[in-house]
């Protein structure tokens, strides 16, 4: 390998290797076809970097996740209050409850509630399950459960082991699938750089009129 200290990404083949490769490309045609030695245009190189960045950003666990059952805790707690019961329709009741919850929520809970609105009928369906879990009826704490339609279901995450030998089921801010991706992509980029830089430098064009 002909690694140059002052030009680390110039070319990883020495002069003789580059010459031999170019001579081979000039000498042989594949059924009349030949390939040129151009580089990927620079804007497209940046585009690939942007694709890699985008791939992680658009798949961050905050997007498109099922709602955590704990985000409705406050709403369920207030649903039987006198001021809610005074309201005539389900729509008025749920709007009031959401406004009330939003007023006291931190920014994260606010975002969760905005992304996962509920109808009054949905609330009636999930409320008994949430109350049961709040009362300690489940194996895990309430925030380890998701709302799936009209059901409360144990979330499908595998976090750290917690007391009692159980795994935490809370949604992580960055899950291990994306951690695996980071290594995978890093290895791919390293291997591709090594592979492509072994080819003759892109400034050296094969002269195809020789064959």
């Amino acid at each position: 390998m002909a690694w140059k200290f002052d030009q680390p990404l110039y070319c990883l083949s020495d002069e003789q290797e580059q010459k031999e490769t170019l001579e081979l490309w000039e000498k042989e045609k594949h059924g009349g076809l030949w390939t040129a030695n151009n580089r990927l245009p620079l804007p497209l190189t940046y585009l690939i970097a942007l694709i890699i960045l985008t791939a992680f950003l658009v798949t961050m666990p905050i997007w498109g996740q099922r709602p955590n059952a704990a985000i409705y805790e406050g709403i369920v707690a207030n649903m039987d209050s006198a001021e809610v019961q005074r309201l005539a329709t389900g729509e008025e009741k749920i709007n009031f409850l959401f406004q009330q919850a939003m007023a006291t929520a931190d920014s994260r809970l606010k975002g969760d509630l905005e992304r996962h609105p509920l109808a009054w009928d949905d609330l009636l369906n999930i409320a008994p399950g949430i109350k049961e879990l709040q009362a300690g009826g489940g194996k895990y704490p309430l925030d380890n459960y998701n709302v799936l339609g009209d059901r409360i279901s144990l979330a499908n995450f595998e976090g750290n082991f917690v007391e009692g030998g159980f795994r935490e089921r809370k949604q992580p801010w960055f899950d291990k699938g994306m951690g695996i991706d980071m290594f995978y992509v890093a290895y791919f980029v390293i291997v591709m750089v090594l592979l492509i830089k072994k080819l003759p430098h892109y400034s050296r064009k094969p002269a195809m009129n020789k064959s």
């Binding site: 042989e28 030949w34 699938g177």
Partner: protein, 469 residues
């Protein structure tokens, strides 16, 4: 004639015979596949169309259409291109013309049997891997293995030191497809059920697309575009990037088809990132081919094979933009299980892939038969029926999918959604029927080319003579 050659000595079989039989078989199956598609679409557009017979029920007919297109048209067109491109790129002849003919024979027999069984309702019951296990074994050992042996041995006996990029894809993709068939059908072979079955079903479906249909179609373009234009392929190094990015990023995201299933969330996150990274090979492929066109863009208008090829390459752009992003959690919850996905699947199979293969079949048959196309007018008619029909289909199903997504999310009564999407179902049928009509014209044109096409003089290519009388 096929039966005669099956039992002849290899040296007595004219070179290119396997290409010709593969080529005509592929067009025949394209006519059958799109005809079935048109029939099925009519059932969705006009619910009273052919009722009362179980055999013609949508549930019986749908998978026959899907597999006739995938294993009949697309895969046999691949077989055809491998029979003529692999030896040409190695400056040699096909390793065994006889094995090629046996492969096309076994392929037609196995596929016919498999489709008849599916039609009768004898099915594995899994989408895309619907064929029952004995037919799967015929596909693996009676079709793919002989095809692979022929391609690998032809590459091994090449008269060049290097291997051209198209042959990297051909050799690797046949091997990978065999693995996909063996592993993907393991739920049936080993009676796996539940989530494992669901995962493996879509591992199969995803990889048939990702490690067979799209990369081999791309490999074909690496041959046809430089061949037709006379330009060198723009970049050997971008070819490396494309090939290895396919291997790395297309083989891994299978679980992004099951974003709502109770698979581990980390597996879905992993797959979803890889799903977006599919854009890397797509960028490499599209850039390499479009830059190869430099100085020859007039051929996109003038030359029928280039017209088909470049249309396929251009369709790869929306295909991968959709494919990369529709599988993320943020979008998938809306479009999953709707006509949007049907539109996307047709963009891949009927759009990008089929246009590239049609170009290769046009070019290959003329080259091997040494005959000029019987009618350029009919070929152009085929192109315009195909592209207009496809666009009608794709756009109408995309709109229908968005309506269905809205209906799903806002809990609109199902029958209201059916009523709302009805006009788009009629458009779908009209578009599909246009594609079918174009293919009937194509079959006639190629049949007449074989019988009455002007003989191409030595040293010339058929496509060079297209406008000469």
């Amino acid at each position: 004639m096929l039966m005669k050659y099956l039992f002849a000595k290899n040296d007595e079989i004219p070179a290119g015979s396997a290409t010709i039989f593969f080529g005509f078989s592929s067009i025949f199956w394209f006519v059958v596949g799109t005809g079935l598609g048109s029939f099925n679409a009519a059932k969705l557009a006009f619910p009273d169309w052919v009722t009362g017979t179980e055999l013609f029920a949508f549930g019986h007919m749908r998978q026959v259409h899907v597999l006739a297109v995938i294993l009949g048209w697309i895969s046999m067109a691949f077989g055809m291109t491998m029979m003529y491109m692999t030896p040409a790129l190695g400056n040699t002849k096909l390793w065994s013309e006889k094995l090629g003919l046996w492969t096309v024979f076994m392929w037609n027999v196995g596929l016919s049997l498999g489709l008849i069984l599916l039609w009768m309702g004898i099915t594995a019951g899994r989408e895309y891997s619907d064929l029952i296990w004995p037919i799967d074994l015929v596909v693996i050992f009676g079709v793919l293995l002989p095809l692979g042996i022929n391609v690998w041995m032809t590459i091994a006996h090449r008269r060049t030191q290097g291997i051209y990029i198209t042959n990297w894809f051909f050799g690797a993709c046949i091997f990978m497809l065999m693995i996909v068939f063996l592993v993907g059908n393991s739920p049936e072979l080993f009676n796996l059920t539940g989530l494992t079955e669901a995962y493996l079903t879509f591992w199969f479906a995803h990889n048939v697309l990702g490690l067979w249909i799209t990369p081999v179609a791309a490999a074909i373009a690496y041959y046809t575009i430089p061949k037709l234009t006379g330009n060198p392929l723009y970049s050997h190094r971008i070819g490396h990037l494309h090939f290895w990015a396919i291997i790395a990023f297309y083989s891994t995201p299978a679980s992004h088809h099951l974003m709502s299933a109770p698979l581990p969330e980390w597996l879905k996150s992993f797959a979803s990132v890889e799903g977006v990274l599919i854009l890397i090979p797509a960028v490499a492929f599209v850039a390499n081919i479009l830059l190869t066109m430099k100085g020859k863009w007039s051929m996109f208008v003038e030359n029928i094979e280039t017209k088909f090829s470049i249309t396929g390459v251009l369709l790869a752009i929306p295909l991968n933009m959709q494919g990369g992003f529709q599988q993320t959690r943020a979008i998938n919850w809306y479009v999953h299980g709707t006509g949007w996905i049907v539109a996307h699947a047709h963009l891949a199979l009927l759009g990008m892939s089929s246009f590239l293969e049609a170009a290769a079949v046009y070019f290959g048959l003329q080259s091997v038969l040494r005959r000029k196309l019987y009618s350029l007018t009919l070929a152009n008619l085929h192109y315009w029926f195909f592209i207009i029909g496809f666009c009608i289909y794709w756009i109408s199903m995309t709109i229908a999918g968005l309506i269905q997504g809205a209906g799903k999310i806002y809990e609109v009564p199902y029958i209201d959604v059916v009523v709302a999407e009805h006009p788009y179902m009629i458009a779908r049928w009209a578009g599909g029927t246009m594609v079918f009509t174009g293919n009937v014209i194509w079959l006639y044109n190629m049949w007449m080319t074989a019988r009455e096409g002007t003989i191409v003089p030595a040293g010339r290519y058929a496509h060079e003579l297209a406008y000469e009388r």
